[in-house]
Symmetry: C2
C-alpha cells in the first residue's frame, strides 16, 4: 500500500465519524479528564499534518507549530487537513523518508522519515479508536469498519 | 523496527491497561451496543494470534478458529497469547511474509503475509484506542502513552 492510500484507508473512516458529530456535541467528553470531541478531532487532524511536515522539512520545528484556529467546523477542518496532508505525503522523496531527523527534544531520540510516517498513522488509528467510543456514546450505532480498503 | 519489537511496543501497553481492569469490571460497557471489556480484550488477544497464525500457515483457516475459553483471568490470557504470538512472529520467514494468502472468503481479497501482519497491529491499536476510553471510564486517570518504545 503506498503512503497516500494507507493514510486514506484510515482518514476516510475518521472523516466519516466526524461527519456524525453535531456541533452540539463538540464539547462532549466521556469522562471529566478526557479530551472533548472537538479537541480530540482537532488533535488528530493537526498531528498527522505535523508529523508529515516534519519529515518533509527534516527537522522537528513543524511538530511544535500551533494550529489553534478552531473557527471552522470539524468537517471543514477535516477536509482542509486531509487535502494538505495528502499532498505532502505524495510529495515525499526516498531521501526524505530515509533521512534521520533529530527528535531528541520531543521523543528523546532520532527518528527516520519512515518511522515518523508510521508513527503518524498509528497515532491516527489510536485516537480514531477513542473516537469510535465517543461517537457510539453520542447515540450512533451504525458505524463503519475501522479501516476502509476501497 | 522488527516485527516482535513493533508488536511489543503496543502489546505491552495493552497489557498495562488490562492490568487495571478488576474482575468486577469485566462486564463494563460504555454503551448498550458496545462489547464488554472482557469481550473486547479477549477479541484483541485472540485476533492478533489468528492473524499471525494465518500468515504462518498460508491459508485462512486459523482466522476462523474459536478461542472461547474464558476460564482464565484477562491478565493470564494476555500473558499466554502475548507469548504465543511473540514466538510465532519471531518464526516467520521471508517466504511466509511475501506469500499471498487467499482471504477472499473473509476480506474479499488476497492478502500478503506482510499486509496481514500490518492489519494485525492496526487492529490492536484500534481496539487499544477503544480500551483507553473504557479504562478511563472505570475511573483510572494515570494511563500510559499509547506506544512504548522501550
Amino acid at each position: 500500500m503506498n503512503l497516500v492510500s494507507h493514510f486514506l484507508a484510515h482518514r476516510t473512516v475518521t472523516n466519516a465519524l466526524v461527519g456524525k458529530i453535531e456541533e452540539a456535541n463538540y464539547d462532549f467528553t466521556p469522562t471529566e479528564t478526557s479530551m472533548s470531541a472537538q479537541k480530540l478531532v482537532t488533535h488528530m487532524y493537526t498531528s498527522y499534518y505535523k508529523f508529515i511536515k516534519t519529515v518533509k522539512e527534516g527537522n522537528g520545528a513543524p511538530f511544535l507549530e500551533k494550529f489553534d484556529d478552531n473557527e471552522q467546523s470539524l468537517n471543514q477542518l477535516g477536509e482542509d487537513f486531509t487535502e494538505k496532508t495528502k499532498e505532502l505525503l505524495a510529495s515525499l522523496t526516498k531521501e526524505e523518508l530515509d533521512r534521520e531527523i533529530d527528535m531528541t527534544k520531543i521523543f528523546g531520540m532520532n527518528v527516520t522519515g519512515h518511522l515518523m510516517v508510521q508513527m503518524a498513522i498509528e497515532h491516527e488509528i489510536h485516537h480514531k479508536g477513542n473516537l469510535f467510543v465517543y461517537v457510539r456514546e453520542m447515540g450512533h450505532t451504525d458505524l463503519p469498519l475501522y479501516i476502509n480498503f476501497k
